[in-house]
Amino acid sequence: MSDQVENKPQEQTRSLSESAPTASLPRLGMVAPLFEAVTTHGKIRLEDFKGNWLVLFSHPADFTPVCTTEFLAFAGIAPELRKRNVELLGLSIDSPSSHIAWVRNIKEKFGIDIPFPIVADSNKEVASLYGMVMPGESKTETSRCVFVIDPVGTVRAMIYYPLTTGRNTDEIIRLIDALQTTDKHGIATPANWKPGEKVIVPPPSTLEEADARMKEGFECSDWYFCKKSL
């Protein structure tokens, strides 16, 4: 993993508003912003996850109902994610003590262990770095953001949900499966794809390739739209 990129735009923005440094928001395909943070499992750096996929997700606040349902759901998919070499890392603008109390409360009330660390981002450092606070919704809470970061530290997917709407954790597994399948086979995945279903062969970029494509034995609706089984 390397240092943050996009320093130049940040500097340009700063000159417009000296008092409010603008966060360098992550972009797909760019290096994920590095951080070190206090978590329920001690101090963690982003680079500690090198070699693993990481799902970094934020929630608005501890001891709130929708977030509790989400944590139960994330805990539920943790074993499936671990099989896929994926770690989970939660985050909110709460203190370590609040996180600890909430995790213990979830265990007490729902009988579920939260197996992943949660960043106590009281000073909003990581939240600012990743653009997790949406001032139009709340200036004091992180929205429901998900960042999928690959084993070399590249941001591969981002999902943003509003405060009112709990996330679909099955979709997160599906997304991971799709990204990993793309990396392994050099293909794309169609809408609502699930493992085992046919995948999209990347469209040809030249006429010669387009002519050849129709003879390659793929299931083609047209030269640009071919599927295959893996």
Partner: protein
């Protein structure tokens, strides 16, 4: 990783990691031996280096004199304070 508890004692995870360092080992080796996630091992070893319990040489970690089982088992105060 929180290898050192609030009273200056080593956590169970830290003891597991130290036990895995009988010979110099990489974080990957320690993760395999302890069955702890690799990210926790990396953070834990870093914390133990800062605490003077472990040292890093040529990419492999090994316990310092302070981190050797003989010292830890005496149960004495390690003199490590939590921030």
């Amino acid at each position: 990783m929180a290898c050192v508890g609030s009273r200056g004692e080593l956590t169970e995870s830290a003891r597991k990691m130290l036990a895995a360092l009988k010979t110099p080992a990489t974080p990957e080796d320690v993760a395999t031996h302890t069955e702890l996630p690799l990210f926790r091992v990396r953070g834990g070893l870093r914390e133990m280096v800062e605490a003077g319990l472990v040292e890093l040489k040529d990419g492999a970690y090994s316990p310092t004199e302070l981190g050797r089982p003989c010292c830890l088992h005496k149960g004495k105060d390690l003199g490590i304070s939590r921030r």
